[in-house]
Point group: C2
Chain length 272, copies 2
């Protein structure tokens, strides 16, 4: 029995889609979430800066005594996972391998699309991982830099969102894809629009569910799961940005009052 929380980090609110699955699959666990909303999006930032920001988030959560870290952000996973996993004493899970496994399992024609931030697409992490598993796969990647700002500004139900998603994904329509990886944890909030645009025959892969299955297994593998008696149904939320918008999106997406606290990261403002 281990009551320590599992930590989740993301550039903003995208990781909610992973936490939502965690709350469903792991009702005995306690969670702590940090979204770096003030510095979101990470997608267009240089690799070195994303690594630095990811370390700052990681260090904040380590001080909170997490027993496992989930990098619930594709951009951060693609550039910082290996380094962080190597240096930390606790298990560290990213979202790219779970998404890859799910996509390889789902595809029938081995024509897989990946949409993500500029950083994720530039890293080619999904492409490498998919081709490691199935050499003959065709992978088409597309950066969608406008999607994260739509979600972070709580506009993902709007007609503007529909227009932007439609225009952005248009180049993928002719690619004969049967599977599309939502390679950014923000994108499942746009899922219904994305599905409309791509058509019902394209399987959308939301790595959240698969990532939490990995978390569940690793909790058992490393013998650090909590049991029911130790569960407090406890989730703490931190953001570096506006708690108002953050809490609104949490309410909409997680169906709960996040009551988030604002913190500062970086430089001398590194809060604890």
């Amino acid at each position: 029995m281990n009551e320590q929380p599992i930590g989740f980090i993301d550039s903003g609110v995208g990781g909610f889609t992973v936490v939502k699955e965690a709350m469903k699959q792991l009702p005995n666990e306690n969670f702590i979430y940090l979204g770096d909303t003030a510095r979101c999006p990470y997608g267009p930032r240089p690799k070195e800066q994303v690594i630095q920001f990811t370390w700052e988030m990681t260090n904040f959560l380590l001080k909170k005594g997490i027993k496992m870290l989930v990098i619930a952000c594709n951009t951060a996973t693609s550039v910082a996972l290996n380094e962080i996993k190597e240096k930390l004493q606790i298990p560290v899970v990213g979202v790219i391998m779970p998404g890859t496994r799910a996509a390889v399992k789902a595809t029938k024609n081995n024509q897989i699309g990946v949409i993500g931030t500029e950083g994720t697409v530039k890293s080619a992490s999904y492409e490498h991982a998919i081709k490691e598993k199935v050499t003959s796969s065709q992978v088409v990647s597309l950066a969608c830099p406008k999607f994260v700002p739509i979600v972070e500004s709580n506009q993902f139900h709007s007609s503007v969102a529909k227009k932007i998603v439609f225009e952005t994904l248009l180049p993928l329509k002719s690619k004969n894809l049967d599977t599309l990886i939502l390679g950014c944890t923000h994108y499942p909030l746009l899922r219904s629009v994305i599905q409309d645009v791509m058509g019902k025959d394209v399987t959308l892969i939301d790595s959240g569910a698969e990532t939490i299955s990995e978390v569940s297994m690793l909790l058992d593998y490393f013998d650090i799961a909590n049991n029911e008696n130790g569960a407090k149904e406890n989730a703490q939320f931190y953001t570096t940005g506006s708690t108002y918008l953050f809490d609104q999106i949490a309410q909409d997406w997680l169906g709960k009052n996040a009551s988030s606290k604002q913190i500062h990261l970086g430089g001398t403002n590194d809060a604890t």
Copy 2:
């Protein structure tokens, strides 16, 4: 890329049900299987002896250069997993936690049945693991000592098998179970008979599929997966007993010619 094989050990042919799933889910991997048919069943044996036999099998496969060990036997998992996992440098996976996770996920009324060998039932491993996750679960365990011999003698399609399964499982019929764990890797070969006896409303949990999902994740987690270019579609089979019966069951269950080799374990006959 890591072309080393994944090792599977079982008291006999039960682990075929796990290997079958591995061949399906992990087409890029090479496998090596050892069934200790000559000393099967393990179920009625003292704990210390099962641990010793499991070490003998493990040491045989370690000499063959495996990169991961799957203890595809519930009896061996229940008494030897922790010790072997602790001492080996490679990842070690058992079948009890995967089966537990699948059962807890499947049940709606938290009335879970477990059938297994005497050794597995006596260890109460499933009961402990299930109650760690859901304290209020009711777990009914039943030892079925006659099932393994039916399978090992290749009689699992016979009318005798049906009669024995029916008579053995009768006490479970009144327990209001909605989920039944096939807590022995031999039992999925009797699956259709077990399902007939229990009724279609009872979900049968075959830990094989779930175990291989765990193997797949751990291959990625520890970065030891093979890629398609390194795949040889290679599976080697070893048995301590009759290769004739062993190969017959492999042909029937795995649909392939196992061309098994006989080896000796224990004492001065410890083969390599």
